[in-house]
Symmetry: C2
Subunit: 409 residues, 2 copies
């Protein structure tokens, strides 16, 4: 008996039949005596359909108007789910981001939630109603419609759960939880019962796309228990918490392995090793709105240095164009680009208390003759860049070596 916030993604509400299935699931929770708030995305495909309409008119759609248009996607699904619940004899009411109200700043298409007025929702819950809220959208101080950016519905769910002091925020999606790694690469991958916010953040930023990073940050900040589960089956999913369960005697050293093929490496060779050189190379890249992931700098014997960094694969061409100008300014010898790389990351809070994780990782890769091109570490993560063709081999070997494989059935 508590307040449950349930968020269903686009594939879970893709058509009337699936919306009916969501209504069945919501009804079960409601019948058990829970107060249920549902947050919905737009039907999968709808956002792309709307963007295509805008692009047919202009290459640069005005962000304010994009938000007016894009916010209609969730407005359709919330109304349909409310109808489906009412058909099942449950009193339900839908609300747009404006109606709730989910107050955001005015950064159209990527707004941030500032406050939520929960009075209306609480009154509905107390009256026995199920409340259905449009995800992804809000309203600024002047009454303009805003959106939170792709995947923003997760953030809406977590923010509502925080505002209402919900017992749990359940994120229903098309996977049944967070896995030790992508089961398409490692069939022995295991669903995690729990994972910490920190681990989830590292895994998300390393390429595991189960949850939006902002939603995890938000949940961590407000200590909202977050659970990822499948909207197509049953099961406990994965609970994301502050720490692993107290009674988990054998806390895992490594919780999961994330990887990302979508990276490219750029090396600026023979740069004079003088102060400020990194900034002179990277500032123009940032100015061009290119995000940088890993950075590495080696000093050569001749007093010059090689400067290496990675960017998203789609930004490689743009980054090259920027660097060619910069290279002359800093008298670099040459620029080398490599699009055939991949990043593999071990993630786990247990790493803090266990020495030797890094050396074990490197020896596992060495045994498979996989050369490490770059290394980056944090408190709970070790990431390496390798040749893309070794990605599957590397992930499988590490998954097995760190005892992540599921027991044979």
């Amino acid at each position: 008996m508590g307040i449950m916030v349930q968020k269903y993604g686009g594939t879970s509400v893709a058509n009337p039949e699936r919306i009916e299935a969501v209504a069945d699931r919501v009804k079960r929770w409601h019948d058990q005596g829970h107060q249920v708030v549902v947050v919905l995305s737009a039907m999968s495909g709808e956002t792309n359909r709307l963007i295509a309409l805008a692009k047919a008119i202009t290459d640069e759609p005005t962000p304010r108007e994009m938000d007016v248009m894009l916010s209609t996607g969730e407005q359709v699904t919330i109304a349909l789910l409310a109808m489906a619940l009412i058909k099942r004899g449950i009193d339900a009411r839908s609300y747009t981001g404006t109606q709730v109200a989910i107050r955001t700043d005015s950064a159209h298409t990527k707004a941030r939630i500032e406050a939520i007025d929960d009075a209306r929702i609480r009154a509905d819950l107390d009256a026995g109603r199920v409340v259905v809220v449009a995800g992804f959208q809000g309203v600024d101080a002047d009454g303009n419609i805003t959106t939170l950016g792709r995947g923003g519905s997760d953030t809406t769910g977590v923010a509502l759960a925080a505002a209402l002091g919900a017992d749990e925020c359940q994120i229903y999606t098309d996977v049944d939880g967070v896995y030790t790694t992508d089961p398409r690469v490692v069939p022995q991958a295991r669903r995690l019962t729990t994972v910490t916010f920190e681990e989830m953040l590292e895994m998300a930023s390393q390429g595991s796309k189960v949850l939006q990073i902002r939603a995890v940050e938000f949940a961590g900040k407000y200590n909202v228990p977050l659970r990822v589960l499948s909207s197509f089956g049953e099961g406990e999913g994965t609970l994301i918490t502050v720490d692993h369960a107290e009674d988990d005697m054998e806390k895992p050293v490594i919780s999961g392995i994330a990887f990302n093929r979508d990276e490219a490496k750029l090396t600026v060779r023979g740069v004079p090793d003088t102060p400020g050189i990194a900034s002179r190379i990277l500032s123009p890249i940032g100015d061009a709105n290119i995000e940088i992931d890993m950075i590495l700098q080696n000093v050569s014997a001749d007093g010059s240095t090689d400067f290496t960094f990675t960017v998203a694969h789609g930004d490689l061409k743009k980054a090259m164009a920027v660097l060619e100008k910069v290279a002359k300014d800093v008298s670099a010898r040459e620029i080398v680009a490599n699009g055939n790389i991949a990043k593999v990351s071990l993630v786990g809070v247990g790493m803090r208390s266990h020495a030797g994780v890094a050396s074990k990782m490197f020896s596992v890769l060495a045994k498979e003759n996989i050369n490490i091109q770059m290394i980056s570490t944090s408190e709970i993560k070790i990431a390496v860049v390798i040749d893309e063709k070794y990605l599957e081999l590397a992930v499988r070997s590490l998954h097995s070596a760190f005892d992540l494989d599921a027991p044979a059935p």
Copy 2:
């Protein structure tokens, strides 16, 4: 130089290309120095698409939730038009019914406008902006989204024009004005330069579907000059005003001929001619939500009476079922139904000052051997019910006899 409210219907914004054409037209008015407020419908077909989604979930969609869903249609078109205007260098801003705010009562799916807060629009107009408002929708006192019913965008346009004291409310549609009669039946039909509100109301209620009746009533009540024109061509369209132009020396006796095939006639024969008999027959019809158009009662020689009335063709079966019960109660002899009838109406404010319009109408029909089954008159209208097969012949003969034919080219 004045405030122009322009309303574009669903076919005028059916796709991005047509929205661009609307933007071109709006730009021309804006460039001439007018302050322009645009009211839009949803893309044609969109409302039906949404209704089909709701019907896939439930046969009885909750009206409140229907409104949440249906209001998205205009929200998409207003954003797209604003983008198209901004692309043309015009500062533009879109508003939903909630944002404006168009305050209505809470009668979901058929709400009535109670008030409009025009502060925001005036500020935008004064800043040189074009304001694009979602038609068909509003918001009630509790912040719930409401809709005005089919064709409600016309009403939004007129209400905004009234609130802003606009110089004109222009209704852009797929016809280029109001005609003396349907040109598909009479190729010689002429576009009217002006028509009065009263005439327009009679023509609309008699089956001419250019404008929504509520919009015309609203315009008449607040004395808003209303103009119907084509969004696909140029031309002055038809101006709907309080009276025909002063300088129109030869005010027409008849402005137009409306007709309606969608009627059916029911006769209850041999009813005792006692007080209250009409009410005993018609009350059950009204209770069954069947609208009655014309009513006629004849007294027979034997002291009994025949009672005849017309209903929409689609209600004929339902009305028969009701009447069969009633017939016993009032000891009627028999019930006769006729679905093969049509109504033809002459409309014109000039009728008031010209005797002999009725007799001329009857003699024209007699000359063609068309039998008149029912007659109904108002101050500015004479309507007759005839056999459906004579409809085209009747309309053409009357159109010619009352000098409505366009001069030969």
